[in-house]
């Protein structure tokens, strides 16, 4: 079923604020095996000009993917989420996330296309601090594969 292109431009309510913590940054850096002290030491971060430890570049996925899935599960949109795969992911950075940031995500439906029965939806996630500063913008392509696709 082709998605309703009338959803293009729809803006979803902001997620609840998420507080970026030093502990979560260190845990994420450990999980990707990156031993850079900038993720763990305020002094090392300061040496590069940062006011606190910063997060690895894809840390934002923690909040943006969850925000995107909230849209995927919107019954009004009618996306068959069982068939949804993450196709592309892109981030545009204003600055790195850092410990102490309190952030929300506002998701906007950027585009909807149907190609060979595959529904393709691009979601833009604006990641802002609760003070209103844009930190990073996320572009997530989700693909709901055609039902007859046996692969």
């Amino acid at each position: 079923m082709a998605l309703d292109t009338g959803f293009v431009g729809r803006v979803y309510p902001a997620t609840l604020p998420y507080e970026v913590s030093r502990a979560k940054i260190a845990e994420f850096a450990d999980a990707i095996g990156d031993e850079n002290p900038v993720y763990r030491s305020v002094e090392a971060a300061a040496a590069l000009g940062y006011s606190d430890v910063i997060a690895p570049p894809t840390f934002a996925n923690i909040v943006t993917l969850e925000a995107a899935y909230a849209v995927v599960h919107d019954p009004a949109l009618g996306l068959d989420w069982m068939r949804v795969v993450h196709g592309d992911q892109r981030f545009v950075y204003e600055r790195p996330l850092r410990a102490g940031d309190e952030i929300t995500v506002v998701v906007t439906v950027e585009s909807i296309k149907t190609l060979a029965g595959n529904d393709m939806i691009v979601l833009r996630g604006d990641v802002d601090t609760v003070q209103g500063e844009r930190v990073v913008t996320s572009y997530t392509l989700l693909v709901a594969r055609a039902a007859e696709d046996g692969s």
Binding site: A31, I32, P56
Partner: protein, 142 residues
């Protein structure tokens, strides 16, 4: 801190040294906890088979994170990315062995822009197949 690549020393066409990364089931468990993505296909062999996968696969975002790690290690500053994107072309299949899977990453500087930014393209493979495509970044160098 690590020196990192210097803008003055970088030219379009430069190859960035290849790196390989070991990915085991333990890696995936740790990434699941860190990212909050507990999708069963990243830890249950049984569920992976049920959806037609050959085995448990790594989170696409984990592979994306590894490639970001490669980029910022080269740049010498984890805050150096201005733009970074990937396409998830094929999954990284992670068998339940001590060795797990290997992800190989190699980069190339494709353009030096005016404002201290360089464009880098990455080739990201596992078992000889591209797992990420269109893996591109704009990186700020000092």
């Amino acid at each position: 801190m690590s020196a990192g690549a210097r803008l003055a020393d970088v030219t379009a066409g430069d190859d960035i040294a290849a790196q390989s990364y070991q990915v085991t089931r333990e890696t995936l468990v740790r990434y699941a906890e860190a990212s909050g993505d507990f999708n069963v296909i990243h830890w249950s062999h049984r569920h992976a088979l049920e959806v037609g996968l050959p085995d448990v696969i790594a989170h696409g975002n984990f592979t994306m994170a590894l490639a970001a790690r490669y980029l910022v290690t080269w740049a010498g500053d984890p805050g150096a990315l201005q733009e970074y994107g990937v396409r998830f072309a094929r999954p990284v299949v992670v068998p339940d062995t001590d060795e797990g899977a290997t992800v190989e990453i190699v980069g190339r500087v494709v353009e030096v822009l005016d404002d201290g930014l360089v464009r880098v393209d990455l080739t990201v493979t596992s078992s000889g197949q591209k797992v990420l495509t269109q893996a591109r970044a704009k990186v700020r160098l000092r």
